[in-house]
Amino acid sequence: MSREVSERAARVAPASRGSAPDAPIPNLVEQRIRFEPDGSVTAFSGKIEFGQGIRTAFAQIVAEELRLDPERVRMVMGDTAQVPFDRGTFGSRSIAQDGDALRKAAAYAREQLLRRASEKLGVARERLTIADGAVRDGGVRDGSRGLTYAALAADPPLAGEVPDDVPLTPASEHRVLGRPRARVEARDIVTGRATYVADVRLDGMLHGKRLQPPVRGARLRSLDDAAARAMPGVRVVRDGDFAGVVAERAAQAQAALDALEADWTSPNGDDQQTVVIPMREDDGVDAALASAAHVVEASYVLPYISNAPIGPSAAVADVRADEATIYAGTQRPFGLRTEIASALGLAEERVRVVPRMPSGTYGRNSVGDASFEAAMLSRLAKRPVLVQWTREEEFTYAPARPAAVLDAKVGVGADGSLVAWRYDEHTNAHGYGFAVDPRVAPFTSGRNAIPPYRFGKGRITLYIEPTPVRTASFRSLAAAENVFAIESLLDELAFAARTDPLTFRLRHIDDPRLRRVVEAVAERATLGERSSAGLGKGLACTIYHGTYCAQVAEVVIAANGTPRLTRFWCAVDPGLVVNPDGVRNQIEGGIQQSASWTLLEELGQRDGRITTTGWDTYPIATFRDAPEEIDVHVMGDEAKPSTGVGEPGTVPVAAAIANAIFAACGARVRELPIGAERVRRARPNG
């Protein structure tokens, strides 16, 4: 009996806050597309741009369906006063979901404009042409009978639900989709004009700092604020366990914060228990293992790591008696609005969340710490307040990626088939602030725990264990952890079965799209060719939320065991490609960041208290560590829906590197990060 959890089952899952999480959101054309008098179009999305390039991609999508130059499309994103409801920007779902909704809305608007023009002009639909902001009678040579989009859309205002079967522009006619396009924000970024959250300046704005509790849930027993109050330009504010300072200048606020003497009581230890979630439970797994020709049993270990954004958390809040505006770096503007409204005792409609570019935060902005603090401080101080966390606060108080221990026992039959697959995933919650929901967890903490290979009997179990460390969302959630284990394991199985890693994988892959990217990357990287001593290449692959991604890492091992990533290849199939250079940039960046997790990163902690304070104690990859080349081969499939690329590139990297290290020197390292010492200890001759 097989008991695999289905996507449908997980969707039932609304243990969190707010309205039913996965109720369908209506796609109304009037909430999506606005035709401006100057011929341009404004389009609206609840998604957030934080470096993934979706503002550019969305503009391309709308421009294609409305026959416009992308320059003529302006995207409004995430402002809760302007955009339709959205659950959040995560899971590499923006292009797949909101890109699709925008595309259909734009196509529907185009069809309506054509229908209206046909009626007004008394000309058959087939004779009309639509381009560059006007509908024209194609039979009239001078084009004088053109009607503008804005005029056609105005009376009566274009409105209504977008039908799902609206005709989309076929790939053969695409003029914008699939063409590389530079980022809309590029010029503002290189000139320093781009406005990030911490750049928002309001009249009368103060700088604020919250007095952070030493651990979550600690109670403020007493506060000695005499020294802080004596400082010029400083006010101390407090509401129960929430205390902080506001000041005219940032340095004054920091000095006043440092002068506060607080006495905290420790929270009662909570009695959280391990949640055990079977993800697949076949009968006869142990018997199948007993019958296997080769069995590989191994444990893979990953430490806590930090999202480590270059810009620490920031927010600006302007809270008045009966309304509030929050300038935030957030992935969930509507979720944040609910939380802020609740904290301030305001109706949701009285709170406006206006997202501003944050620094890239890779999942960290699912939790709105700085926004909450700025809102509380602004309410207490009755002035707009900017909160800017320090680097040390960001390491100390931000949530971390959960740790993981992945225990696997897999058997290969005499015929080379994978006869049994046992896999225990031990990790922590990949979300913050609500109880673990067993219906959702397989898709968060258990993401990509089920391998994309054909196997016989399986038992795959997820154990979500309590931890004193604050853990939350991190780029790709558990996928990068699971795929490190699974793809390392595939190489270990191939070695046990005396087969090369490529042939071994292909033997167990049924999905033709996965096979295509694996074969392509192996060819581009000339995998399997003999290489020089101390140099090795390693293969790994994944299917992540519908995107197919295969990678080869090349490493060189120094005499002292230090691994250096020298080159990297990736073949990716994200379905219909919107912006090929945008895809390449995301995948390259994902590889570079994930290589840093793999080779360098570990968050220091003792009993849940983070001991890492700065970049000196949390080194990440620098320019000197960058590989000479990252070759990204975008092999889209225009017949397939577009899927995301923000996360998939990060997912196979750790295993590709670990497999390359094994190929280079015979060291099988199963614990991250992989530094010189771990390589030396695992190397056959030290």
Binding site: V190, G192, Y196, W615, A621, F623, A626
Partner: protein, 154 residues
């Protein structure tokens, strides 16, 4: 305390406490938010500006430079690199090569690259890596940024 600063080709007068970080002065007193706060310890490069004491521009961490010292040098921030609508070749190359994602670290990278090209017009890959190593990028655009600097060098 009153200070007269030379910033982006002009002079600016500020009245701030002695010892105030240049970064705070730029962002909160002069409205120049292109230099960004990243760590306050000179470990990440997000706040870099050019400082010229007469021997050519150097990339410095404005979070570690007090206003008192800043008043003795010529400061150029990322906002001061373009002339009218014409971007500096380094800015042009970063934009054209899409050598950015979130862009938070881009100001600092551009500053380091401009300083490098001022002293070494045709840098090797290794020189570029060394010169930009103080600039951390979490999104991972290093290989693109190296290409952009080479492109700017012509």
């Amino acid at each position: 305390m009153k200070y007269r600063l030379r910033v982006n080709g002009g002079t600016r007068d500020v009245d701030v406490p002695r010892g105030t970080q240049l970064l705070e002065v730029l962002r909160d007193d002069l409205g120049l938010t292109g230099a960004r706060y990243g760590c306050g310890r000179g470990q990440c490069g997000a706040c870099f500006v050019l400082a010229d004491s007469g021997r050519g521009p150097r990339a410095v961490a404005s979070c570690l430079m007090a206003v008192d010292q800043a008043a003795t040098v010529e400061i150029t921030t990322v906002e001061g690199l373009a002339h009218d609508s014409e971007l500096h070749p380094v800015q042009e190359a970063f934009a054209a090569g899409d050598a950015m994602q979130c862009g938070y670290c881009t100001s600092g990278m551009v500053i380091s690259a401009v300083a490098l090209l001022a002293s070494s017009p045709k840098p090797s890959d290794a020189e570029i890596r060394d010169a930009l190593a103080p600039n951390l990028c979490r999104c991972g655009v290093y290989t693109r940024a190296i290409r952009a600097v080479k492109r700017a060098a012509g």
